[in-house]
Symmetry: C2
Subunit: 280 residues, 2 copies
Amino acid sequence: MITMSEQKPLILVSNDDGINAPGIRTLVTLMKQLGDVVVVAPSSPQSGMGHAITIASPLRLYEVDLFSGTPAYECSGTPADCVKLAKHYVLKERVPDLVVSGINHGSNTSISVLYSGTMSAAIEAAIEGIPAIGFSLCDYAHNADFTHTHDHILKIAGHALENGIPKGVALNVNFPAKSDQPLQEIRVCRQADARWQEEFDERKDPYGRNYFWMAGKFVNNDTGEDTDEFALSQNCTSVVPCQLDLTDYKNMETLKGWNLNARTQTLLDSQATEPTPQTS
Amino acid sequence: MITMSEQKPLILVSNDDGINAPGIRTLVTLMKQLGDVVVVAPSSPQSGMGHAITIASPLRLYEVDLFSGTPAYECSGTPADCVKLAKHYVLKERVPDLVVSGINHGSNTSISVLYSGTMSAAIEAAIEGIPAIGFSLCDYAHNADFTHTHDHILKIAGHALENGIPKGVALNVNFPAKSDQPLQEIRVCRQADARWQEEFDERKDPYGRNYFWMAGKFVNNDTGEDTDEFALSQNCTSVVPCQLDLTDYKNMETLKGWNLNARTQTLLDSQATEPTPQTS
């Protein structure tokens, strides 16, 4: 259904802020310098969707003209849905040479990679064996300034197009917010061991019932200088290679040492308060 | 707000099939043999939600009496939301000794761990430094038979309560569906290198507009005998230790070899069709 030149690389662009976000507009314009572009992105913002997919309801897909004639589709689903629909329905006969996601309005460093819709689009592509990169800017503003990121985006995406990305890996790229200082170099990093410290803002609705807003602050106790967080603190661009295999190999032996099959239920015997249930 | 005995361990139970699913009922009854139980689970099914969190809308939390007097709350959000709300609002003054999620109606082996709401509850707890286990049965039926899993669940949870789980690790436990053959031993495994091959079922609604159902089949080309998929094929229970750090350390050196900072834009120069965009 989409006709494209054969000699140029094919680049699929998605995001999680939705197809109308300024960040994806910047990314599309940049990618058009590197190849033929197709956009499949969520109709509405999907931040915090993690690697969600839509299986309990149907998906909608509509062609839109938002990028000066670049083929583009808005999808009712999540970023991972967008990549799946793009690959198996929109592009059918051609596998993209690269999938890029973003530019996200907001950081996706450290543990945030697990909650990130931006990265879920990239990881979904990596599962399919396609080179994939998620780009995020540490600035949540709708009118964030992306101009300082252009050169690094073209360098990283250009290199991925020419040389590929190791199989089963998606790149998580984060940029510091635009400041008075010039952006420094690109650094390959590990994911910082930091996390969100949640707080819930409890309110009452007009009918007197409680509801909660999730809020919280980012806490980084990782003092390493090889982390994504440290690179950003130095006004550098961070690149973390992310893998799809969650197995903690170093702890497999620890678990084998548990001898679970030999275990007798001492705790159970001493604390039993009711019989083991029989599922009907 | 919840009064519990001081000497018994505190166990938080969640899931992704929703608080009315039979699987969580079995898990609650089993956990009551090991300690004091509190349930915080989604109001409605959340399968495929991955590690989604709710940040764009408020959350609701209602106390319910569904488990013979066991304190229980249904939450309008995702499994990860449930664990966050439980920790920071429901339990406030006491950190659970264990978080268990499930028993999921359906497999969460291999790459499915990334899409799994069941595992996202366990991973959220592991992020908070709490021992955590997700339990899944390879049977999607609402009236699935869980009876053969009881002994293994009590062994694994009992061991975790007595000895903890390595920090930053969540256990992904899968059981084969009940069959005529007796369940074999518990095996510590790695995540199989398998994936879902999607197909989209395209239909027309009564108004003539297209919509899509995501479907697909599970494809396992991993021939290793140390995987979760292999263990299940042998009618064994699989236990995969899952880590929170996605960094692919072995490929960090590969990426450093890219020399991105020295890269000149040959591809860009030869293919440039329009100027670099200026974000307004």
